[in-house]
């Protein structure tokens, strides 16, 4: 079962990466070390560090308003890309997509 799940996870990651407009996919652990990334290491580390801080701040904001609430997803849309972050205690899943058709 674990093996199946793992294969499914791999497949999903590959699919995500191959979707239209996706520039990069990163999975970073809680310490900022990339577990899996499709970008180069320096960019990954940079994204990981910055997004980690932002995620913490966003999470703190959400929970300050209501402690029973929690942050599930974070999307930052900029002129050029959209950065989507799925935060968790142990990892950060980051996808950068260019949403223009």
């Amino acid at each position: 079962m674990i093996g199946n799940d793992h294969a499914e996870v791999e497949e999903t990651l590959k699919r995500i990466q191959s979707h239209k407009g996706v520039i990069g996919t990163m999975v970073v652990n809680a310490e900022g070390i990339p577990i899996r990334t499709t970008l180069d290491n320096s960019t990954t580390v940079q994204y990981a560090g910055l997004l980690h801080q932002l995620t913490m701040k966003a999470k703190s904001t959400v929970r300050d308003i209501d402690p029973q609430n929690d942050l599930t997803f974070l999307r930052i849309r900029s002129k050029k890309h959209e950065i989507m972050v799925a935060p968790d205690k142990e990892y950060l899943l980051i996808v950068i997509q260019n949403p223009c058709e």
Partner: protein, 851 residues
């Protein structure tokens, strides 16, 4: 430190007493009982660094030297020690240690030893006594001559105590000690022997220690200096008498409240009353006059105290509402045993039992924290860290949360990619983002203000265009299509919406023809992810029918080309069907062409609606399946072959046609009446449509003859319950009326087989038909001769299924290439009365029959 404190207190008290009394030099008087040394030592605190100002010693001519020499040099001088010394030392010999031996020496030795005695008014001696009274017998060593100089008044007691105390002196200090002693010994007018002794001592530095040890003791016991303790002395029993001292009252706070019931209550209340009257009388009374007085203020004295440097440490912590909430929750959950042997949990301190519940990732985290805390062995760390990184990454991948996050992420990406299309599907306004140079981008609900302004302008333009566009004919706009690698090349055979979740679509892939059979696939697609199905159920046989259950919307029934019916639970990810009819003895022997879940009233027993699964297959049976322990099959109807006898009445059908090889007619489709679930229509391969009832399983109620080829689909009009539509392989679409056995309206738009038809859920006039080459949308209100919209297929692709979306104006069309395309119906003409049920009848006219 305790003795020290006390000693200090003594000193101060002594000083105070001193101030009151003045020095009392008692030489020659021996005070046995109350030894008080206190020397006129200036009270400077134990750690006094400066020379005690002798100012305190009022009236004392001879200056006291020494005493607290600045203990700056690392003195071991502990405050208490010094203090103790101070107090004990009868003579201000403070041995306070310290290194300033030279300084000490310089000091005059002329300090007079005085014993300060405190007496009160009545002449009672109230000088404070030292707490520690050393046993005079315990002193050893030769008498310290230095101390002999002290006034004879020195009692042995305190000296002895002093000496004992001295025994604990740090030998390293001894040197200075002696010196200081020397210097400090107040020889004064005492005996000359002091000087002599001093001289001797100076010459004999080697005896310092010994001297020190016996420093003050035995001084007093001059008489017994040479006494040798004999054995008898040791064996003498010494009486120790313990007596209780009188009670000393330190604090007496009389009560100010009396109970009402006590004896004095009366007196007290009387006194209170007197006082009240007194107060009242006070106002105008001459006896009470306000007057000012000046009180003499005593001269204040400033006192400085110096202490050790107070070490400060700053510690900050972030306190937020959620932090507090988490801490409280963690406290509640702290009953869970903390199994992890975490040594340094600083980084993972925030991991409460929540992580502990996550089995795999939690344990890996523990390992990591352990690994990270083993800072001393780097090799081990590196090895461990590497291992744990792999473990951790695996753990991350295996965690459910990660899969869920991936799932959401994919959907979010899809949303970005398909945003305008999805918005159109859901009929949300699509706002365009202005781009100066970059290619167009779309926003949902305008997040930027600029965008909103621009979008408004564009909306106005759009509105203008819309009004212009009303002249543009209705058309189908293709939004997207559900397709993926898995489904490529397969033929879409059936479509069904989920009853509970309007975004979930079940698609069955399988070929119709016997020769073309390939593997089959049933997929569940979600609108939110058009690029990959949520569930896929593969099978070696082609799928010919799918339907979602109404009562349990997670059950999906799939019918296969080999006659098997399988029921899947789409909630879990498993690929195995929950129920399978392949082993049932009454399973179908031919392809199951249609499946439908029907909620039937169990009129007889009065139960709630029970759901049954009805299937029709090419072996000529319509059966209903009930889920009890497995699929139970029950035949609703056996379709018998009938001959086309238009002239004769319906009663003689069975008799004719006996010579046919098989009496069963393959059933292709069925449709239950929307209101009365007992009545249903069944279409056969012969081209007949039979009206049947669930109550009768032998006979048809009616037969509608009109088609010349197999009837592929029958559909009741959702608004007008008397009208139904049928399509067949004879290229025709026929509208029937319930009571009329002849076709009402027939359409033969093309020369291609019509595979599927569907009524629009929004209007009773509109229906869609899919034939091999094109999809047609008919609007009966506008025209009964031509379709409203015609959408031609790409060459090589046939349209096989069609389905309307319920809440939106969209149409799903499945084709033979495995794609299910979603089209939006645009610019459909709206009619006001399209929802009324009877309009179609009035439109079509009563019982008109057209060929």
């Amino acid at each position: 430190m305790t003795p020290g404190k006390h000693s200090r207190a003594f000193a101060r008290a002594a000083n105070a007493g001193f101030g009151v009394q003045g020095l009392q030099k008692q030489r020659g008087k021996r005070r046995v009982t109350i030894p008080q040394p206190v020397a006129t030592m200036p009270v400077s605190p134990v750690n006094g660094r400066r020379q005690p100002s002798v100012g305190v010693n009022v009236g004392l001519a001879p200056r006291k030297s020494i005493s607290f020499v600045g203990a700056s040099k690392g003195a071991l001088m502990k405050g208490g020690y010094a203090g103790a010394n101070q107090s004990r030392m009868a003579m201000s010999k403070n041995m306070m240690i310290l290194p300033e031996a030279k300084q000490v020496e310089k000091m005059t030795i002329s300090s007079a030893k005085t014993i300060t005695q405190v007496t009160d008014i009545n002449g009672v001696d109230v000088t404070p006594r030292p707490l520690y009274r050393p046993d005079p017998y315990s002193s050893t060593g030769k008498p310290n001559k230095l101390l002999t100089s002290q006034d004879g008044s020195h009692t042995s007691d305190f000296i002895a105590s002093h000496s004992l105390y001295q025994n604990t002196i740090n030998p390293s200090m001894l040197g200075q000690f002696t010196r200081s002693v020397l210097g400090s010994s107040t020889v004064s007018k005492s005996t000359v022997s002091t000087t002599e002794s001093m001289a001797e001592d100076l010459e004999e530095p080697s005896f310092k220690r010994e001297r020190l040890s016996s420093f003050t003791d035995l001084q007093v016991m001059r008489a017994t200096t040479g006494k040798i303790i004999t054995k008898e002395d040791l064996e003498k029993t010494i009486e120790i008498i313990l007596t209780e001292t009188e009670t000393m009252n330190f604090l007496n706070l009389p009560t100010v409240m009396f109970s009402v019931e006590s004896e004095e209550a009366e007196k007290v209340s009387q006194r209170n009353k007197n006082y009240e009257t007194l107060c009242r009388n006070r106002l105008g009374n001459d006896l009470y006059v306000e007057r000012m007085m000046q009180t003499i203020n005593g001269a204040p004295k400033n006192k400085d105290v110096q202490c050790d440097k107070i070490l400060k440490e700053e510690k900050g912590i972030m306190s937020t509402a959620w932090d507090l909430y988490d801490s409280y929750n963690a406290m509640e959950l702290s009953t869970l045993p903390p199994k992890r042997p975490m040594m340094d949990s600083s980084s993972k301190a925030s991991v409460p039992s929540k992580d502990w519940e996550q089995s795999v990732p939690g344990s890996n985290l523990e390992k990591i924290s352990e690994g990270s805390s083993l800072m001393d062995i780097e090799n081990v760390i590196l090895a461990k860290v590497r291992d744990e990184e792999e473990d951790n990454s695996d753990a991350v991948f295996k965690s459910d949360k990660f899969q869920q996050d991936l799932f959401f992420m994919e959907r979010v990406i899809m949303e970005n990619i398909f945003q305008p299309k999805l918005a159109a599907y859901r009929q949300l306004p699509v706002l365009k983002e202005p781009e100066p140079e970059e290619p167009g981008d779309f926003l949902v609900d305008g997040k930027l203000e600029e965008v909103e302004e621009e979008a408004k302008k564009e909306e106005e333009e759009d509105l203008e265009i819309d009004s212009e566009q009303s002249t543009i004919p209705a058309n189908l706009e293709r939004l997207w299509s559900f397709s993926c690698d898995l489904t490529k090349g397969l033929n879409v055979s059936s479509l069904a919406w989920n009853k509970a979740n309007p975004d979930l679509l079940a698609v069955g892939y399988g070929h119709f023809g016997f020769k073309e059979q390939k593997r089959g696939l049933a997929c569940c697609w979600s609108i939110k992810n058009p690029m990959w199905p949520e569930r896929t159920y593969q099978s070696p046989y082609g799928v010919t029918a799918v339907d979602f259950s109404i009562g349990s919307p997670n059950l999906l029934a799939v019918g296969y080309h080999n006659g098997t019916i399988a029921i899947y639970n789409v909630q879990n990810n498993s690929n195995l069907p929950v129920l399978d009819s392949s082993e049932s003895p009454q399973k179908h022997l031919g392809p199951v062409w249609q499946l439908q879940w029907i909620e039937q009233d169990r009129g007889t027993t009065g139960d709630d609606k029970r759901e049954i699964l009805v299937s029709i297959s090419a072996d000529g049976r319509i059966s209903k399946w009930v889920i009890r322990k497995g699929l139970d099959c029950h035949d609703l109807m056996r379709l018998r072959r009938t001959t086309a006898s238009t002239s004769k009445k319906g009663g003689e059908k069975e008799k004719k046609g006996e010579a046919l090889i098989s009496r069963q007619a393959p059933g292709m489709c069925f449709a239950f009446h929307p209101k009365d679930t007992n009545i249903y229509l069944a279409g056969t391969e012969e081209g007949h449509i039979h009206k049947c009832s669930c109550s009768y399983n032998e006979q048809y109620l009616d037969t509608y003859r009109g088609h010349k080829g197999p009837v592929y689909k029958i559909a009741w009009n959702p608004f007008c319950h008397d009208v139904f539509l049928s399509c067949s392989a004879d290229w025709g679409v026929i509208i029937w009326q319930h009571e009329n056995l002849k076709p009402f309206l027939s359409f033969y738009p093309t020369t291609y087989v019509v595979y599927d038809i569907a009524w629009s859920p929004k209007s009773c006039y509109i229906f869609a038909a899919a034939n091999e080459s094109r999809v047609e949308i008919w609007d009966l209100h506008i025209s009964t001769l031509d379709p409203l919209i015609v959408h031609v297929a790409n060459p090589g692709i046939k349209f096989t299924t069609v389905l309307f979306a319920k809440q939106t104006d969209c149409l799903l069309v499945g084709d033979s290439d495995g794609q299910v395309a979603v089209y939006e119906l645009k610019n459909m003409p709206t009619t006001l009365d399209s929802n009324r049920g009877d309009v179609i009848v009035t439109l079509l006219g009563p019982k008109s029959s057209q060929a």
